[in-house]
Structures are given as C-alpha cells and as structure tokens.
Amino acid sequence: MTVLEQPGAYRPTPPPAWQPRVDAAPLLPDAEPYRLLGTDAAADIDPALLTRLYGELVRGRRYNTQATALTRQGRLAVYPSSTGQEACQVAAGLVLREQDWLFPSYRDTLAAVVRGLDPVHALTLLRGDWHSGYDPRDHRVAPLCTPLATQLPHAVGLAHAARLKGDDVVALALVGDGGTSEGDFHEALNFAAVWRAPVVFLIQNNGFAISVPLAKQTAAPSLAHKAVGYGMPGRLVDGNDAVAVHQVLGEAVRRARAGGGPTLVEAVTYRLEAHTNADDATRYRSDAEVEAWRAHDPITLLEEAMRDRGLLDDQAVQSARDAAERMAADLRTRMHQDPALDPMDLFEDVYAEKTGQLREQADALRAELAAEEGER
C-alpha cells in the first residue's frame, strides 16, 4: 500500500476532459448569400415594406448622384459614394427603432439620411466646415467615422452600457470588407460576444478596399464565417436584395433585443462608383466586371419583383423619381449656400473649459481677425 492508497489520503482529481464551449454548427453562415427577391418567398412580403424600400432606394440613388455632382462643383471636398450599395444603406437606416443607435463609417451617410438625418448635416464632414454636422443624440447616429472599424467598439460599449442601465437599445455598426482586417474589428466582435452585447455588425462587402480586392484582404471562406470564431452567428446575405438585407438585419436586431447577443451579417454587394471622386477605378477593375454588377442593381431587382406582383407601375416609378428629384434640388440649393463659419469656434469644445493656453491662442487669433478686418 502506497501513501496515496491509504484512506483519507490526498487524491488529485484529473483535469476535466476537453469539450467545445459552444456548438459551432448553428453559428455558420449559409453556403450562398440569402436572397428573397426572385424567389417564391417574395410573394409573401408586405407590400407596404416593398413600397417603402423602393421609395428610399430611388431617393438614395439620387442622393448619391447628387452628392457626387457636388464634388465636381467644388461644394464637397470629397464624397465616398454608396452607389450600388443602396439596399444595405436603406435597410440599415430603416431597420432600427427610434431608441436604437446607428454607427456609420464615412461611406454610410445615406443610411444616416434614411434614419432621418438632414442630408446637409450628414454631408457637413465631407464639405469640410465641421467634423460632425449633427448632434449624434438627435437621431441616435454616431459621428461618421473615418478611421476604419474604430467605431465598432463604440457600438459595443454603448449597447453594453444601455443594457447595464436596463434600457432596451440595440446598436447597429457598419463596416466594409477592408475594415474587417483592422484590429478593432476583432476586438469589438470579441467584446460583444463575451458581453453578449445587443449589437449587430453589418459588413458591406463591396468587393474593394479602395483598390485592393477581397482576395488580398482575407483568406476566410467568407467574412460571415469570421463570426464563428467569436461564438456569434454569421449571416451571409445578398447585399443588393433590399428585402433580404432588411429581413436578416431585422432578425439580428430582434435577437439582440431579446438578450441573444450579437450577430455578424455580411452583405455581398458592389461599389459601382470609384472609392471617391479622387479615385480612378479603371486602374484596378474591368468595365465588364462593373457591368455584370450593374445587371444586379438593387433598384432594378426590387422594381422587377414589385412589377411582377403588380405593386408598381410606370406612374409609381415616376412618382418615386419625382420625389427623389425634389430632395436633390433642395440638397443642391442648400449646399450651394456658403456655410457661416466663425474661426473662433476652433477653440470651443476642445475641453469643457478652455485652458490658459487656448485662451491665449484664441486671443491671438481674435487679434489677427480684427487686423484683417481693419485692412478691408
């Protein structure tokens, strides 16, 4: 008999056997992007939703062309167009409730406008008169974020804070395919999953990060597959099918609200225009590729499905275009007015109270301005 075999002797328990912490299978995305338009299921979709989506898509396309035109007229410093991605933008803008929060990137001004933001305010950053042209609390739209994916942890933190306070709030964060390579994408998804934060992440995979195609960005089976590594479900959806995107995002938002935690949605879409007006897309992609995607245009897809069901006729199409034209005319008129700028605002809101240093510098600028005024 050894010492360990004596009654009452210390016996170390063996370490627990390894087992997976969650079942990975239910988290996996579908093999193909989920589609509704052009399928039998399209017959059951609420006509009111289709009409709403169609009106917003037409308006959204016109918003994009108008904003691009404003860059040529020198009224916008730059415009990253979401032409071709309107289905994602519109669905993201419509799917949230009033108390929810949207976290856009710089290419998502349309989603913010669909959510209710004044287009002039949405474009202020890109016009260059102030970094955020709106109070984020008014429509619960976070400032347009330029450093890629850095807004994603903000969405997680806000949703987490709301949940700690017992508020029913969901955050929807938008990111592009290029942004998924950033460290903040990883950290945000990980925090969200660990905290079961009520967040939905929407990747608009538009094929390019400026000029770099997805193949140079990732070796993952799909971007939606990345969800599995965090322990959250990944959904793959046709990003040009506005109804499908709206439905998938809606399910994810409801899941988050019910305490089910975050979801990662990859919407497969295409940026029909160059990265911005300063980019030359012909250097990195062929006309044939662009044409193939034009044939899969989100507005055409919805229009055809609605005409098939007798929900849209030439008159209704014209009426939607007229409404979009009125929005564009108003935007044009207002963007052609020079913004009123006060250079002394530069020192405001750097801190709650100006430091002595800033007071000195503000005085110096004020004196400069007075001198300029005197010379006139």
Partner: protein
C-alpha cells in the same frame, strides 16, 4: 467631530480608496480593465471593488487595450463615466488610436454634444526592476494630443485628490501613476482626505528663501528625487525651490513662472527622454515668459534618448540626485565675463 487616527497609507491604498469613493458617490462610474475584478489588478489598486460593486461596475475585460478604451468611448456616449486601467505604460499603446482619434476629439467633433468623461489610469515609469515594456514614461505622447488632460501625482494625498478630480472631470484624463511610488507612505486619512487643488494647478513642495536659489521642476516619480537633491544641496549652500507640476496638461505657467522669476534659475527633471520630452516644452515656456529673469539657460535632467534599458542597467538611466546636483552646479553661478574668470 470624530477623527480617525491618521496612519501611514500608501499611494496604492489612496488610489484604491479614490476609486471606491468615486464609485460609491456616482453609479455612472465604471472600472474596466485587465485583471481589475477578481484579482484586484496586478498592482491591487482595484482590490475589493468587484466584490463591493459587482462585476458590472468593476469588469474584467478581454485582454485587448483598444477594445477596452474603444468600448469605454461607447459607454461614455451613453452617459457612463468609465475609469479604464491600462496594466502597464507600454501596454497602453494598442489603445493609442482610440485615445488620439476618438477620446481626445469626440467633444470637439460633436460641438460639445458628446463629452468623454473617461479616466485612463496608466501605471508608468521605471525604477521597479521591470523587464522590457514595463517601465516607459510615455507622457510626451499624451501631452502632444489636444483634448486630453495629463496628470501625474507625486504624493499620497495628491493620488487620492487628483484621481477623484480626474473621474469627476467631464474631459478625458490620462492619469499617470508613478509605479515606483505605489508603496510610498505618508500620514493620510481616507476619512478626511486633504483638499487638493484642481487639475491644472502645480504646487511648490519646497520653497526657497534666498541666497543661491534655483527652481527644480518635476512631476510624478521625479518629485522625491528633487526634494532629496534640494536637501543635499542645502549643505552646499544652495537653496532650491521644488515645484511639483501635478498636471502636465493643463500646464500651470503661473506657478512655474512665479517660482523661476523668484529664483532666476531652473532645472526640469523627468524620467522621460529629453529629446522631444516634456522638458523641452517646459524650458521653452519658461524662456518665453521669464527671459529677463533668467541668470542661466534652463537645463534638463532627463532619461537618455534610448529605449528604456533592462532593469539591471536602469539606475544609470534614471535621473538621480547626483545628476540633478550636477545640473544645478552648471547654472552659471559665477559669470565668466563679470567676474573676470571662466568657471
């Protein structure tokens, strides 16, 4: 009035007490970071907070500094007052983009709509025998970022008072904790904490009364070094005034310049590298404001312009009493042209 006996307390205890009192006073205050919950932090500053306030108020986060500060931004957007712990100075660097691109700018970007009342606690500086990446003095990076306040206490009372002020501030504060002073002790009662001047005010720790005077300007871990140097210098006939900046941003020009105008000479002392370090800015500010009161160029005693050295060599890098006294000796006490001889 009942008075708790004033017993020696460490800076670490005072910091922990400040966190506890801030959390008790305001339910919006949330502490988050690596190991801050169950363990109480690697320096035990957050010891007991998770137990007292729950995991939702004192949260062990995943090991990701950008994620910690990035989620704190979102929490602040929703009205919370996050206090973030970065485990060590050099481990704060992954969070730098969040700090520079969002924390420091959000108020300005949104015209005051979204202030960022975030405190980023950073145990910083050397002298504890830490291996690589555990001893950086990174204050110059933070100072160079508009929108941040940068604070470093040097005493037990200031550690409490300044941390309470930082948490109460509606602006983001990078709160640099001199880790080699964590275990420094002073008579201090948590029940009757001393009144501490608000963020942005320096203090004269040792006044000069007259004679061969100069001002030593420092903050955080270099303040005790300067005080020791001043004592040693008095034996050699110098009367040195010691200014503890406490806040690097906002910078208290008034207190610093008043002292330099009195003494006519100044030495800035810090562990951070000299080139591009805080001392250059401080020397420039003194020269711009006090030129006609200066009897000698403002000198700097700083860490060498090298990556922070391995622990067995760090004593050669850190500014010590001798190096401070050498600098004082070089403050042109005898003019080579008026006295007719070079020194």
């Amino acid at each position: 009035m009942t008075t708790t006996a004033v017993k020696p307390a460490t800076m670490a205890q005072a910091l922990g007490r400040a966190l506890r009192d801030a959390m008790a006073a305001d339910p919006a205050v949330h502490v988050l970071g690596e190991d801050v919950g169950t363990l109480g932090g690697v320096f035990r500053i957050t010891d007991g907070l998770a137990k007292e306030f729950g995991d939702d108020r004192c949260t062990d986060t995943p090991l990701a500094e950008a994620g910690i500060l990035g989620t704190a931004v979102g929490m602040a957007m929703y009205g919370l007052r996050p206090v973030v712990e970065m485990q060590f100075d050099a481990f704060a660097y992954p969070s730098f983009e969040q700090l520079v691109s969002h924390v420091s700018r959000m108020r300005n970007r949104t015209r005051g709509a979204l202030p960022m009342p975030i405190t980023v606690r950073v145990p910083y500086g050397g002298g504890i025998g830490g291996v690589e990446h555990h001893s950086d003095s990174s204050e110059a990076y933070y100072m160079a970022t508009p929108g941040l306040h940068v604070v470093a206490p040097a005493t037990v009372a200031d550690a409490y008072g300044l941390l309470r002020a930082a948490i109460a501030s509606d602006d983001p504060v990078v709160f640099l904790e001199p880790k080699r002073l964590y275990w420094s002790k002073a008579e201090w009662s948590p029940d009757h904490p001393e009144e501490v001047a608000p963020i942005g005010r320096a203090v004269v720790r040792r006044p000069a009364t007259g004679g061969r005077t100069a001002t030593l300007i420092s903050y955080g871990p270099s303040v005790p070094v300067c005080l020791e140097a001043a004592e040693a210098a008095s034996a050699e006939g110098w009367d040195l005034e010691v200014v503890d900046l406490r806040s690097l941003v906002p910078f208290d020009d008034e207190t610093v310049c008043a002292s330099v105008r009195r003494t006519g000479r100044a030495v800035v002392v810090h562990e951070s590298t000299g080139f591009g370090g805080p001392g250059g800015e401080i020397a420039a500010r003194i020269t711009e404001r006090c030129f006609h009161h200066l009897e000698a160029p403002v000198l700097r005693v700083a860490g060498f312009d090298i990556p922070y050295p391995p622990p067995m060599l760090e004593r050669h890098h850190l500014p010590g009493v001798d190096r401070v006294l050498d600098a004082v000796a070089r403050l042109q006490w005898e003019s080579e042209w008026t006295e007719g001889r070079a020194v």
